[in-house]
């Protein structure tokens, strides 16, 4: 759970930074954050 927490949190932070800078990698971090969240939510349900 701590691994997933680090992954999701880092991706969310980077999404925020990319949004603030209108950076092109915004779409990438959205995908990564959502994907790690999917995995984390699935692990919680198991």
């Amino acid at each position: 759970m701590c691994i997933a927490r680090n992954d999701v949190r880092h991706a969310l932070t980077q999404t925020g930074h990319a949004t603030d800078r209108d950076a092109p990698e915004y779409a990438y971090w959205i995908r990564v954050a959502s994907s790690h969240y999917f995995e984390a939510a699935g692990a919680l349900r198991e």
Binding site: R5, A40, A41
Partner: protein, 142 residues
């Protein structure tokens, strides 16, 4: 597990509900589709039908400009590739609920981080663990 979760503070347990509930509210297989299209690239041998999805995304973006963004050190990033990747990933999203579903994913992700943080704190407290700045290095031996 349930016994441990019961020791997590109320705000942490609420965060857990958000973390679990948000992905379910988004709709069946919406996040799963996004995850599979993020960690897998189009390939003829792939078990996901990514080639046709890629083709559809390219058609949808056919009128968009192909742009690159110059970065430090003379490198650049293909913005158009990011747009295509996001279009493929969001294919299961409902166009009429795109903003709502995006907010659900964000709230769910934040909920998970908050729950995991509270759970760790509860675990640390139960086991007498302390977190703090690292101890200063010992004085060198003369």
């Amino acid at each position: 597990m349930q016994a441990f979760i019961a020791t997590v503070p109320e705000d942490g347990r609420q965060a857990l509900k958000v973390a679990v509930g948000s992905s379910q509210k988004m709709g069946k297989r919406v996040l799963e589709h996004l995850r599979e299209r993020t960690f897998h690239y189009p390939s003829p041998a792939n078990r996901y039908n990514l080639d046709s999805e890629l083709e559809e995304a390219l058609r949808a973006l056919a009128d968009e400009e192909v742009t690159a963004v110059v970065e430090e050190g003379g490198f650049f990033r293909w913005r158009f590739a990011d747009d295509v990747a996001l279009t493929v990933a969001l294919a299961k999203h409902d166009p009429d609920r795109l903003r709502e579903q995006t907010m659900l994913a964000r709230d769910g992700a934040i909920g998970f981080v908050n729950f995991a943080t509270r759970a760790w704190e509860a675990f640390a407290e139960k086991h007498g663990l302390e977190m703090g700045p690292p101890e200063p290095p010992a004085e060198p031996v003369q």
